[in-house]
Symmetry: C2
Subunit: 670 residues, 2 copies
């Protein structure tokens, strides 16, 4: 019986740069990029390691990304007296550019297939736990060898649920300086209500500059801003770092997502949102301190709501079911016959342990995370490299230090509020008699426990954190820092849960996932794209409006629409125009395009990705997907699903008429 591969829709796919769908592109567009074109785009593409994408847009290291990708750093650069999120940031000379406390950016330099080596290291007929350990050990060896040999950041990336392993080497930048960011009221115009919707009117962009040895980087490639933007229908490409998708999940895994994971995440996100809102309600400064946390939770709430709706879409589920049935029936699947059942069994075991697994850990905010990291760090680095948790491998420690020793301000009251909330949630979910809950609360209320952990801690000082890491197990073991003590009491539970999960669930899913991947390759060939893994991908598509709610939605919006929306809501709430924008009305060319939609296959992590035309010119800046695209985690949405971008012309027009930055404009035109 011949089963055909599941159809790939015209603009579907987050393809690796190593295997772009050239034949499809030629068919669809009558044109496909050649190697130098791809190479240039790859070299100009930047990964923001706190979760986004960007691109070099000048020969002097200027990087363009979204305001909301920059927001974490903007928040960290702000103080009670100077709010860069609310007021924006405008360096009018190199000297005014401000170094980000803990941002790391990466540029992919090479990608090498390591599948054979990784798979060879895992002899057949090992159990899942042992196989998983061998697999991880081999990956750690590859990464260490590469990092030592090249000095480059070296990550082994797993594709196709364990079907392939690639060594990605990155040029790493840690001296990133903020150049320009609009005020949040313009960048995030319409706020949470307009998030994930379209038509949209957001100036969601920001500029950084990469430095090395105190001088602006001269990147190997950059993408010149093309203010005329895209033409509707022409071939357009998006180069970015989609964070993760779950399109190759089995039916059992998908069902687990629908019934267990997504509802649980939604519940947690909403509870956290409630906690951060309560904190913010304490005063204006607390409102400022909690803002990025709030925005991120609201964003997650809306995104997960969309995912949940996608997971309940009968058409999507039917398609997945049919696809799996076809694959399981294919002759090529004989060796993998039991794989689906084993994965389902592992998920069953996970489901029974889900609450315990989720809540036997400290849920706090940044400082709790730092303390957890320190406790684990000093223990992990005692082990041989290949036996450590991934994040403590030698090849990862530099990047980890960059984050852990960040000089960014820490707000103890916010830390305390979030830790108290996390402890209360664990107690609520697991009950007062759970050993973890007993160990961390020791009979105290969650509020009391959080207060005692935070009020006496010195970990807010990065030098203290550094001293503990450098002092090793002895320093950590003898420290009486109350937050550190709390983390040490929680640590055994975390380790037990992680071991159980890696052995029982991850081990099975990798082992069996690889069998399914091999069956898939054999049955359907390799003309498929792997799930997203926050590594560089190429999407193709075109700027195109759509039909919705019985009318047409245009492919682009203009500045006229921004002023319409502001006036339509009588300037209320998130629809108020910031004074700079309001004051610029007379100078703005109102017909200038502001945002546009395109059919590209994107997901969270693609934020900040450049949209380029055939000539490699920068025509748009991805910043969102519309509501109809929110099922993208599980399938390319197609239909009315769209990626949403800031039009390149809007960036220029805002720099000219609203923010008046002639120097930046000149650099972009050079």
């Amino acid at each position: 019986m011949k089963t055909s591969a599941p159809p790939i829709l015209p603009d579907e796919g987050m393809w690796t740069f190593e295997a772009p769908p050239l034949a499809r592109l030629r068919r669809e567009f009558g044109w496909a990029p050649d190697r130098p074109w791809l190479e240039r785009l790859r070299r100009a593409s930047v990964r923001f390691n706190d979760g986004g994408s960007g691109a070099f847009v000048s020969g002097q290291g200027l990087v363009l990304t979204n305001h909301h990708v920059a927001m974490g750093q903007l928040q960290k650069l702000s103080t009670a007296g100077r709010d860069c999120v609310k007021d924006g940031f405008f360096a009018r000379s190199r000297g005014q550019e401000r170094r980000c406390p803990d941002l790391e950016c990466n540029v992919l330099v090479s990608a090498t297939d390591m599948t054979r080596r990784v798979l060879r290291a895992v002899p057949p007929r090992l159990g899942p736990a042992e196989a998983n350990a061998r697999r991880k050990a081999e990956i750690s060896r590859i990464e260490k060898e590469s990092a030592e040999a090249t000095g480059l950041r070296s990550d082994v990336v797993e594709l196709y649920q364990g079907g392939q392993y690639w060594l990605y080497r990155y040029k790493k930048y840690t001296d990133l300086r903020l150049v320009m960011a609009p005020e949040a009221g313009a960048a995030f115009y319409g706020g949470d209500d307009d998030n994930f919707t379209y038509p949209r009117y957001a100036l969601d962009f920001a500029f950084f500059r990469a430095y090395e040895d105190g001088r602006p980087v001269r990147p190997k490639a950059f993408l010149p801003l093309e203010p005329s933007g895209p033409r509707p229908g022409e071939p357009l490409f998006v180069s970015g770092h989609p964070g993760g998708t779950d399109r190759l999940l089995t039916e059992a895994q998908l069902d687990f997502e629908r019934r267990v994971t997504v509802p649980a995440r939604l519940e947690r996100v909403r509870a956290m949102l409630g906690a951060v809102k309560s904190y913010q309600a304490r005063g204006a400064e607390q409102a400022r301190r909690g803002r990025d946390h709030r925005v991120n939770r609201e964003n997650a709430d809306k995104a997960l709501t969309g995912e949940a709706e996608g997971l309940s879409d009968p058409a999507l589920l039917a398609r997945k079911r049919a696809e799996e049935a076809a694959l399981r029936a294919a002759p090529a699947s004989r060796p993998a016959r039991s794989a689906w059942g084993r994965i389902a069994a592992a998920r069953g075991a996970y489901e029974r342990r889900f609450e315990r697994h989720t809540f036997r850990r400290l849920w706090g905010y940044r400082l709790t995370g730092f303390a957890d990291t320190i406790v684990r760090w000093v223990a992990e680095v005692q082990k041989p490299n290949e036996k450590r948790y991934e994040e403590f491998r030698d090849s990862a420690l530099d990047s980890l230090k960059h984050r852990l020793f960040s000089p960014a301000p820490v707000h103890l009251d916010l830390e305390e509020a979030m830790l108290a909330h996390g402890l209360a949630e664990s107690a609520r979910k697991l009950g007062a008699s759970d050993p973890f809950v007993r160990a961390v609360l020791r009979g105290r209320s969650p509020e009391r426990a959080a207060k005692e952990a935070l009020r006496g801690t010195r970990l807010a000082d990065p030098a203290v954190r550094r001293a503990l890491v450098e002092g090793g197990p002895r320093a950590v073991g003898s420290s009486s820092d109350p937050l550190l003590l709390l983390c040490r009491r929680a640590d055994p539970y975390y380790r037990a849960e992680r071991s159980w999960y890696e052995d029982r669930v991850e081990g099975t899913e990798r082992l069996e996932g690889r069998r399914i991947a091999e069956a898939r390759f054999k049955a359907w060939g390799k003309e498929a794209y792997p799930d997203a893994t926050f590594t560089l991908r190429l999407s193709h598509g075109r700027a195109e409006g759509y039909a919705w709610n019985k009318t047409l939605v245009p492919w682009k919006t203009t500045f006229n629409g921004l002023f319409d929306r502001a006036a339509s809501f009588d300037g209320q709430g998130a629809y108020a125009l910031p004074p700079r924008v309001h004051g610029a009305k007379g100078r703005l060319r109102l017909e200038t395009a502001l945002n546009f939609v395109s059919t590209h296959d994107i997901i969270g992590g693609n934020s900040g990705s450049p949209v380029v035309d055939r000539r490699g010119r920068y025509v748009g800046l991805i910043f969102d997907g519309n509501i109809q695209s929110l099922s993208a985690n599980y399938a390319y949405p197609g239909g009315a699903g769209r990626a949403v971008s800031v039009h390149a012309g809007a960036i220029r027009e805002a720099l000219r008429a609203v923010y008046r930055m002639p120097g930046l404009l000149r650099e972009l035109s050079a």
Copy 2:
């Protein structure tokens, strides 16, 4: 068992001016109108007899309505050389105002309850056919008496499916002159795609002036235009003529609508739309001639699609079912116990005869309608007044003459195309051997039959039509006009179908409907509003945005949005800005509100209704409902359902900056 009345939602209801929901208004708004307030609004409200509403807005007989209500007259005033629809119409002096060929407007003067008299004329235990004949005869007597006594147009209106009968007397105007209408590109901005949607940016208004004895009418009341418009949330009232609703239908009738009527109408509308599009494709002049027919069919297509969706909404159906079950179970329903079953049986009979009933008649365009009317007229007026078809009662003949002898141009090629289409549809539905089809085609193709009927007819000349009517049965019987001959051959089939329907379906539904209405009054009291009947009604509500598609829709739009939408679609198609509007951009205050939404309960026929505030000032002009309101025929939509209005300020602003009509502006400000 006590069953409670079905709940009425806060802003639900198309209430008669005789029984406005004063207690509800006081509860909801803390305010209710008094008699003089209502009287003034009633006196200022105008019914457009070709299917819309309007209001006096000056002391010199100026009437404001929608462009799309005016469109029939605009089309009739246009020629190949002067296209008032496309180019607009602008009388800059009284002398330039143009008399409409066949428009009639009415103003309600009084309403008197005639229920007892009509019901007394129908003794109990008559069969449905006889009861129906007696009922109609009594109505004709009341109308004739009233018309002769007062000289006013006198219509007996049936409310609550036969539960009440009211005599409505109208002041009648037949000398209406066109004063001003924007070009269709501004009035119907966004065309069919944006029709029934919101946000919206349409200048859908037009001005007429009522004349009497060659002089402008001085109306008893008018509503001064208030350019500041409504404030969101304040009490607002709509006074207009909703054409018809079916909210009191039984479950069997509703089911019949869902399965039979609506799909059949949708099919017919789409077939007609195809025919008129083919006709229009012949050339620019044909495109012009067919435009209002095309627009009306497109409008019906979209509206019926919405109705069909409403009728398939499980929540709506469940609510209806529960309501009917509760009423049937009420002790008050004992005398009506068999009514529901009898109505269901009548609908069953109708369903079996539905195609024959629908297609054994001539479906053409205006001229076929005229010919049909002439054939019936001369026969009907031979009968005693109370035995005639309603439309030929003495009290109706003046208005009928006004339409039938209209000097408006008739386009024989359009008439022929539509008649050919109608004949083809009858043949397709009934088959070639059907006696009606044989009688009208006589072996010819539909095209041939239509061509022979239209190519030799002289009925396009209103004097010829008048001479035939005045010549009576002899003149018609001896005429060799081929269109008249065709209608004479079709007439017996039409009469047979109408008799069957009136006796079997209408008779039963009136008789049994009255029993159900009485049960309803007894069980639930009279705090309910009757279904709409193209008579004057009062709706209440407020300007209010809504949540949709996971964001907020603002309560109003502005001129900024018009320019945004035009630029967003690159000025394509129905999104192109007319040159006058485009050229006015520099003069327009772009923040001026353009359209707004409110929660009023409206339906087709309300087009052109004034929206007034508590002080009786004219703040908006109803012109549409959004997509979410399209189930209004069967239930008040609530939720995101909204009426859509032109903001009073937009009318002023357009007159000032776009159309530059200072005289009209002065009159509106007087």
